[in-house]
Protein backbone atom coordinates (compact mmCIF):
# COMPACT_ATOMS: atom_id res chain seq x y z
CA UNK A 1 0.00 0.00 0.00
CA UNK A 2 2.83 2.37 0.77
CA UNK A 3 4.07 2.03 -2.79
CA UNK A 4 0.62 2.70 -4.15
CA UNK A 5 0.33 5.87 -2.11
CA UNK A 6 3.46 7.27 -3.70
CA UNK A 7 2.04 6.87 -7.17
CA UNK A 8 0.35 9.89 -8.68
CA UNK A 9 -3.36 9.39 -9.18
CA UNK A 10 -4.08 8.76 -12.82
CA UNK A 11 -0.48 8.20 -13.74
CA UNK A 12 -0.10 5.54 -16.36
CA UNK A 13 2.84 3.16 -16.74
CA UNK A 14 5.86 4.34 -18.72
CA UNK A 15 5.29 4.30 -22.46
CA UNK A 16 7.62 3.05 -25.14
CA UNK A 17 9.53 5.59 -27.21
CA UNK A 18 10.50 5.67 -30.88
CA UNK A 19 8.91 3.43 -33.50
CA UNK A 20 7.75 0.98 -30.86
CA UNK A 21 5.96 3.88 -29.17
CA UNK A 22 4.19 4.84 -32.40
CA UNK A 23 3.10 1.24 -32.98
CA UNK A 24 2.02 0.85 -29.37
CA UNK A 25 0.08 4.14 -29.30
CA UNK A 26 -1.76 3.55 -32.55
CA UNK A 27 -2.51 -0.13 -31.93
CA UNK A 28 -3.58 0.30 -28.30
CA UNK A 29 -7.30 0.06 -29.19
CA UNK A 30 -7.67 3.33 -27.30
CA UNK A 31 -6.94 6.96 -28.07
CA UNK A 32 -3.87 7.25 -30.27
CA UNK A 33 -2.63 10.56 -28.83
CA UNK A 34 -1.80 9.46 -25.32
CA UNK A 35 -0.81 12.63 -23.51
CA UNK A 36 -2.59 15.19 -25.68
CA UNK A 37 -6.06 16.42 -24.79
CA UNK A 38 -8.85 16.28 -27.35
CA UNK A 39 -8.78 20.06 -27.71
CA UNK A 40 -5.14 20.14 -28.65
CA UNK A 41 -5.38 17.11 -30.93
CA UNK A 42 -8.34 18.63 -32.77
CA UNK A 43 -6.51 21.94 -33.20
CA UNK A 44 -3.57 20.05 -34.72
CA UNK A 45 -5.90 18.16 -37.07
CA UNK A 46 -7.62 21.41 -38.05
CA UNK A 47 -4.21 22.96 -38.76
CA UNK A 48 -3.34 19.94 -40.89
CA UNK A 49 -6.46 20.50 -43.00
CA UNK A 50 -5.63 24.20 -43.20
CA UNK A 51 -2.16 23.24 -44.40
CA UNK A 52 -3.75 21.47 -47.35
CA UNK A 53 -5.89 24.52 -48.17
CA UNK A 54 -2.87 26.82 -48.25
CA UNK A 55 -0.90 24.17 -50.15
CA UNK A 56 -3.60 24.17 -52.83
CA UNK A 57 -3.47 27.97 -53.09
CA UNK A 58 0.31 28.00 -53.41
CA UNK A 59 0.15 25.13 -55.91
CA UNK A 60 -2.38 26.91 -58.10
CA UNK A 61 -0.13 29.98 -57.95
CA UNK A 62 2.84 27.84 -58.98
CA UNK A 63 0.89 26.31 -61.85
CA UNK A 64 -0.29 29.71 -63.10
CA UNK A 65 3.19 31.17 -62.89
CA UNK A 66 4.92 28.22 -64.55
CA UNK A 67 2.47 27.82 -67.41
CA UNK A 68 2.05 31.46 -68.47
CA UNK A 69 3.96 32.74 -71.49
CA UNK A 70 3.65 36.36 -70.30
CA UNK A 71 6.47 37.56 -67.99
CA UNK A 72 5.61 37.51 -64.27
CA UNK A 73 5.75 40.91 -62.48
CA UNK A 74 8.90 41.26 -60.34
CA UNK A 75 7.67 41.18 -56.71
CA UNK A 76 10.85 42.88 -55.56
CA UNK A 77 9.85 45.96 -57.59
CA UNK A 78 6.07 45.72 -57.14
CA UNK A 79 6.34 45.75 -53.35
CA UNK A 80 9.12 48.34 -53.14
CA UNK A 81 8.55 51.53 -51.18
CA UNK A 82 10.26 54.90 -51.33
CA UNK A 83 11.09 55.95 -47.78
CA UNK A 84 12.91 59.23 -47.19
CA UNK A 85 14.05 59.41 -50.80
CA UNK A 86 15.45 55.88 -50.77
CA UNK A 87 13.95 53.24 -53.00
CA UNK A 88 13.96 50.07 -50.87
CA UNK A 89 12.77 46.78 -52.41
CA UNK A 90 10.26 44.64 -50.55
CA UNK A 91 10.64 46.73 -47.38
CA UNK A 92 6.98 46.64 -46.31
CA UNK A 93 6.88 42.85 -46.59
CA UNK A 94 10.07 42.59 -44.52
CA UNK A 95 8.54 44.77 -41.78
CA UNK A 96 5.34 42.68 -41.86
CA UNK A 97 7.43 39.53 -41.48
CA UNK A 98 9.23 40.91 -38.44
CA UNK A 99 5.95 42.05 -36.88
CA UNK A 100 4.38 38.61 -37.31
CA UNK A 101 7.46 36.82 -35.95
CA UNK A 102 7.46 39.12 -32.94
CA UNK A 103 3.80 38.33 -32.32
CA UNK A 104 4.70 34.63 -32.41
CA UNK A 105 7.43 35.27 -29.83
CA UNK A 106 5.07 37.06 -27.44
CA UNK A 107 2.48 34.31 -27.94
CA UNK A 108 4.98 31.59 -27.05
CA UNK A 109 5.80 33.49 -23.86
CA UNK A 110 2.09 33.95 -23.07
CA UNK A 111 1.63 30.16 -23.24
CA UNK A 112 4.56 29.73 -20.87
CA UNK A 113 3.22 32.21 -18.31
CA UNK A 114 -0.21 30.62 -18.64
CA UNK A 115 1.12 27.29 -17.42
CA UNK A 116 2.83 29.15 -14.58
CA UNK A 117 -0.61 30.56 -13.69
CA UNK A 118 0.64 34.12 -14.00
CA UNK A 119 -2.64 35.67 -15.11
CA UNK A 120 -1.51 39.25 -15.61
CA UNK A 121 1.55 38.48 -17.71
CA UNK A 122 -0.37 35.94 -19.82
CA UNK A 123 -3.18 38.38 -20.57
CA UNK A 124 -0.79 41.27 -21.31
CA UNK A 125 1.35 39.15 -23.62
CA UNK A 126 -1.74 37.88 -25.44
CA UNK A 127 -2.95 41.45 -25.92
CA UNK A 128 0.48 42.45 -27.25
CA UNK A 129 0.22 39.51 -29.66
CA UNK A 130 -3.23 40.67 -30.75
CA UNK A 131 -1.95 44.24 -31.21
CA UNK A 132 0.94 43.04 -33.39
CA UNK A 133 -1.50 40.90 -35.37
CA UNK A 134 -3.79 43.90 -35.89
CA UNK A 135 -0.74 45.93 -36.98
CA UNK A 136 0.05 43.21 -39.53
CA UNK A 137 -3.50 43.31 -40.92
CA UNK A 138 -3.30 47.11 -41.05
CA UNK A 139 -0.09 46.98 -43.09
CA UNK A 140 -1.68 44.41 -45.37
CA UNK A 141 -4.65 46.74 -45.89
CA UNK A 142 -2.17 49.50 -46.78
CA UNK A 143 -0.43 47.17 -49.23
CA UNK A 144 -3.72 46.16 -50.87
CA UNK A 145 -4.78 49.80 -51.16
CA UNK A 146 -1.47 50.76 -52.74
CA UNK A 147 -1.65 47.96 -55.29
CA UNK A 148 -5.29 48.61 -56.14
CA UNK A 149 -4.46 52.31 -56.67
CA UNK A 150 -1.68 51.24 -59.03
CA UNK A 151 -4.20 49.30 -61.08
CA UNK A 152 -3.76 45.71 -59.87
CA UNK A 153 -6.98 43.73 -60.30
CA UNK A 154 -7.66 39.98 -60.09
CA UNK A 155 -7.90 39.98 -63.90
CA UNK A 156 -5.18 42.45 -64.90
CA UNK A 157 -2.19 44.48 -63.76
CA UNK A 158 0.13 46.98 -65.42
CA UNK A 159 3.30 44.86 -65.26
CA UNK A 160 2.69 41.43 -66.75
CA UNK A 161 0.85 38.16 -66.28
CA UNK A 162 -2.79 38.72 -65.32
CA UNK A 163 -2.75 35.82 -62.85
CA UNK A 164 -0.46 37.86 -60.56
CA UNK A 165 -3.42 39.81 -59.19
CA UNK A 166 -5.70 36.84 -58.63
CA UNK A 167 -2.95 34.81 -56.90
CA UNK A 168 -1.95 37.79 -54.76
CA UNK A 169 -5.44 38.70 -53.57
CA UNK A 170 -6.42 35.07 -53.00
CA UNK A 171 -3.36 34.01 -51.02
CA UNK A 172 -2.73 37.13 -48.94
CA UNK A 173 -6.46 37.68 -48.49
CA UNK A 174 -6.98 34.21 -47.08
CA UNK A 175 -3.94 34.61 -44.83
CA UNK A 176 -5.11 38.04 -43.67
CA UNK A 177 -8.50 36.55 -42.83
CA UNK A 178 -6.76 33.94 -40.68
CA UNK A 179 -4.81 36.68 -38.88
CA UNK A 180 -8.00 38.68 -38.31
CA UNK A 181 -9.85 35.74 -36.77
CA UNK A 182 -6.76 34.99 -34.69
CA UNK A 183 -6.79 38.54 -33.31
CA UNK A 184 -10.49 38.24 -32.39
CA UNK A 185 -9.95 34.94 -30.58
CA UNK A 186 -6.79 36.24 -28.87
CA UNK A 187 -8.72 39.17 -27.40
CA UNK A 188 -11.56 36.86 -26.31
CA UNK A 189 -9.22 34.38 -24.56
CA UNK A 190 -7.08 37.18 -23.07
CA UNK A 191 -10.25 38.64 -21.51
CA UNK A 192 -11.05 35.28 -19.91
CA UNK A 193 -7.48 34.93 -18.60
CA UNK A 194 -7.57 38.46 -17.19
CA UNK A 195 -10.92 37.81 -15.47
CA UNK A 196 -9.57 34.58 -13.98
CA UNK A 197 -12.09 32.27 -15.64
CA UNK A 198 -9.54 29.46 -15.78
CA UNK A 199 -8.83 29.74 -12.05
CA UNK A 200 -12.45 29.90 -10.93
CA UNK A 201 -13.71 27.33 -13.39
CA UNK A 202 -16.38 29.72 -14.63
CA UNK A 203 -18.77 28.11 -17.07
CA UNK A 204 -18.44 29.21 -20.64
CA UNK A 205 -16.74 28.78 -23.97
CA UNK A 206 -13.69 26.53 -23.42
CA UNK A 207 -13.48 27.40 -19.72
CA UNK A 208 -15.46 24.69 -17.97
CA UNK A 209 -12.34 22.81 -16.93
CA UNK A 210 -11.12 24.41 -13.75
CA UNK A 211 -7.56 25.64 -13.55
CA UNK A 212 -6.70 24.64 -17.08
CA UNK A 213 -4.66 27.10 -19.08
CA UNK A 214 -4.26 24.68 -21.97
CA UNK A 215 -6.60 26.76 -24.11
CA UNK A 216 -3.86 29.41 -24.21
CA UNK A 217 -1.53 26.83 -25.76
CA UNK A 218 -4.22 25.75 -28.24
CA UNK A 219 -4.74 29.39 -29.19
CA UNK A 220 -0.96 29.64 -29.52
CA UNK A 221 -0.90 26.67 -31.90
CA UNK A 222 -3.29 28.51 -34.21
CA UNK A 223 -1.33 31.72 -33.99
CA UNK A 224 2.03 30.06 -34.69
CA UNK A 225 0.41 28.33 -37.66
CA UNK A 226 -0.57 31.71 -39.10
CA UNK A 227 3.07 32.75 -38.73
CA UNK A 228 4.17 29.46 -40.30
CA UNK A 229 1.97 30.00 -43.35
CA UNK A 230 3.45 33.48 -43.75
CA UNK A 231 6.95 31.94 -43.84
CA UNK A 232 5.90 29.95 -46.92
CA UNK A 233 4.02 32.85 -48.55
CA UNK A 234 7.03 35.11 -47.97
CA UNK A 235 9.36 32.58 -49.61
CA UNK A 236 7.21 31.49 -52.53
CA UNK A 237 5.22 34.59 -53.41
CA UNK A 238 7.42 37.53 -52.44
CA UNK A 239 10.97 36.22 -52.81
CA UNK A 240 10.57 33.75 -55.69
Amino acid sequence: MAETALTNPGESPARAAGWQGIAADWSSDQRAFKNVSWGKAMMWIFLLSDTFIFSCFLLSYMTARMSTTVPWPNPSEVFALTIGGHHIPLILIAIMTFVLISSSGTMAMAVNFGYRRDRTKTAVLMLVTAALGAMFVGMQAFEWTKLIMEGVRPWENPWGAAQFGSSFFMITGFHGTHVTFGVIFLVAIARKVWRGDFDHGRRGFFTSRKGNYEIVEIMGLYWHFVDLVWVFIFAFFYLW
Binding site: T63, A108, V231, W240
Partner: protein
Protein backbone atom coordinates in the same frame (compact mmCIF):
# COMPACT_ATOMS: atom_id res chain seq x y z
CA UNK B 1 -6.05 1.74 -3.35
CA UNK B 2 -8.58 4.22 -4.67
CA UNK B 3 -9.09 5.63 -1.21
CA UNK B 4 -5.43 6.40 -0.88
CA UNK B 5 -5.42 8.20 -4.18
CA UNK B 6 -8.43 10.31 -3.22
CA UNK B 7 -6.82 11.11 0.09
CA UNK B 8 -3.71 12.32 -1.69
CA UNK B 9 -5.73 14.56 -3.95
CA UNK B 10 -7.45 16.16 -0.99
CA UNK B 11 -4.10 16.97 0.53
CA UNK B 12 -2.78 18.68 -2.56
CA UNK B 13 -5.21 21.21 -3.96
CA UNK B 14 -2.98 21.96 -6.94
CA UNK B 15 -3.05 18.30 -7.88
CA UNK B 16 -6.78 18.20 -7.49
CA UNK B 17 -7.20 21.00 -9.96
CA UNK B 18 -5.49 18.85 -12.52
CA UNK B 19 -6.94 15.55 -11.36
CA UNK B 20 -9.56 15.33 -14.08
CA UNK B 21 -7.03 16.09 -16.76
CA UNK B 22 -4.33 13.94 -15.28
CA UNK B 23 -6.54 10.91 -15.69
CA UNK B 24 -7.38 11.89 -19.22
CA UNK B 25 -3.99 13.00 -20.41
CA UNK B 26 -1.40 11.25 -18.26
CA UNK B 27 0.70 12.75 -15.53
CA UNK B 28 3.67 13.48 -17.77
CA UNK B 29 1.60 16.24 -19.35
CA UNK B 30 0.07 17.34 -16.09
CA UNK B 31 1.83 20.67 -15.78
CA UNK B 32 1.63 21.40 -19.50
CA UNK B 33 4.55 22.46 -21.61
CA UNK B 34 7.05 24.05 -19.22
CA UNK B 35 10.21 25.41 -20.75
CA UNK B 36 12.53 28.25 -19.78
CA UNK B 37 11.64 31.64 -21.26
CA UNK B 38 15.20 31.95 -22.52
CA UNK B 39 14.57 29.18 -25.04
CA UNK B 40 11.75 31.18 -26.64
CA UNK B 41 13.85 34.34 -26.76
CA UNK B 42 16.72 32.48 -28.44
CA UNK B 43 14.38 30.99 -31.05
CA UNK B 44 12.80 34.41 -31.56
CA UNK B 45 16.24 35.85 -32.20
CA UNK B 46 17.07 33.10 -34.70
CA UNK B 47 13.80 33.69 -36.56
CA UNK B 48 14.75 37.37 -36.85
CA UNK B 49 18.21 36.49 -38.17
CA UNK B 50 16.84 33.97 -40.68
CA UNK B 51 14.17 36.42 -41.89
CA UNK B 52 16.80 39.10 -42.29
CA UNK B 53 18.95 36.65 -44.26
CA UNK B 54 16.12 35.75 -46.64
CA UNK B 55 15.35 39.45 -47.08
CA UNK B 56 19.01 40.14 -47.88
CA UNK B 57 18.90 37.45 -50.59
CA UNK B 58 16.38 39.67 -52.36
CA UNK B 59 18.06 42.94 -51.38
CA UNK B 60 21.37 41.94 -52.96
CA UNK B 61 19.54 40.50 -55.95
CA UNK B 62 21.09 37.03 -55.88
CA UNK B 63 19.85 34.97 -58.81
CA UNK B 64 19.79 31.42 -60.08
CA UNK B 65 20.27 28.26 -58.06
CA UNK B 66 22.00 30.14 -55.24
CA UNK B 67 18.86 32.24 -54.72
CA UNK B 68 16.43 29.30 -54.76
CA UNK B 69 18.54 27.13 -52.47
CA UNK B 70 19.08 29.95 -49.94
CA UNK B 71 15.39 30.91 -49.92
CA UNK B 72 14.31 27.29 -49.42
CA UNK B 73 16.98 26.71 -46.77
CA UNK B 74 15.95 29.75 -44.68
CA UNK B 75 12.27 28.88 -45.18
CA UNK B 76 12.69 25.32 -43.93
CA UNK B 77 14.83 26.40 -40.96
CA UNK B 78 12.23 28.98 -39.91
CA UNK B 79 9.34 26.55 -40.34
CA UNK B 80 11.23 23.91 -38.38
CA UNK B 81 11.97 26.26 -35.48
CA UNK B 82 8.36 27.44 -35.28
CA UNK B 83 6.88 23.93 -35.37
CA UNK B 84 9.46 22.31 -33.09
CA UNK B 85 9.83 24.94 -30.37
CA UNK B 86 6.95 27.44 -30.54
CA UNK B 87 4.35 24.75 -31.25
CA UNK B 88 6.12 22.31 -28.89
CA UNK B 89 6.18 19.50 -31.46
CA UNK B 90 9.69 18.54 -30.27
CA UNK B 91 8.23 17.47 -26.93
CA UNK B 92 5.15 15.64 -28.18
CA UNK B 93 4.96 11.89 -28.57
CA UNK B 94 5.98 10.58 -31.98
CA UNK B 95 2.47 9.20 -32.59
CA UNK B 96 1.21 12.81 -32.86
CA UNK B 97 4.27 14.25 -34.57
CA UNK B 98 4.21 11.72 -37.41
CA UNK B 99 0.42 11.92 -37.79
CA UNK B 100 0.64 15.69 -38.31
CA UNK B 101 3.99 16.13 -40.07
CA UNK B 102 3.95 13.26 -42.59
CA UNK B 103 0.74 14.09 -44.53
CA UNK B 104 1.97 17.54 -45.69
CA UNK B 105 5.06 15.84 -47.15
CA UNK B 106 2.73 14.05 -49.56
CA UNK B 107 1.84 17.47 -50.99
CA UNK B 108 5.21 17.18 -52.76
CA UNK B 109 3.66 14.49 -54.97
CA UNK B 110 0.96 17.00 -55.92
CA UNK B 111 3.71 19.55 -56.62
CA UNK B 112 5.44 17.10 -58.97
CA UNK B 113 2.19 16.37 -60.81
CA UNK B 114 1.45 20.09 -61.26
CA UNK B 115 5.00 20.80 -62.46
CA UNK B 116 4.52 18.27 -65.29
CA UNK B 117 1.08 19.68 -66.02
CA UNK B 118 2.17 23.30 -66.17
CA UNK B 119 5.21 22.54 -68.33
CA UNK B 120 2.91 20.77 -70.76
CA UNK B 121 0.50 23.73 -70.76
CA UNK B 122 3.40 26.11 -71.25
CA UNK B 123 4.67 24.07 -74.19
CA UNK B 124 1.24 24.03 -75.84
CA UNK B 125 0.89 27.79 -75.32
CA UNK B 126 4.29 28.46 -76.84
CA UNK B 127 3.46 26.25 -79.83
CA UNK B 128 -0.01 27.66 -80.57
CA UNK B 129 -0.08 31.22 -79.17
CA UNK B 130 3.36 32.59 -79.83
CA UNK B 131 4.04 31.54 -83.41
CA UNK B 132 2.17 33.52 -86.05
CA UNK B 133 0.86 31.15 -88.66
Amino acid sequence: MTNVAVHLEAQQPSLQAHAHDAIATGAAHEKGQQHPIKLYLVVWGWLFVLSACSYLVDYFGLQGYLRWSLILLFMMLKAGLIVAVFMHMAWERLALAYAILLPPVLVLVFVAIMVFESEYTHLIRVLFFASPT
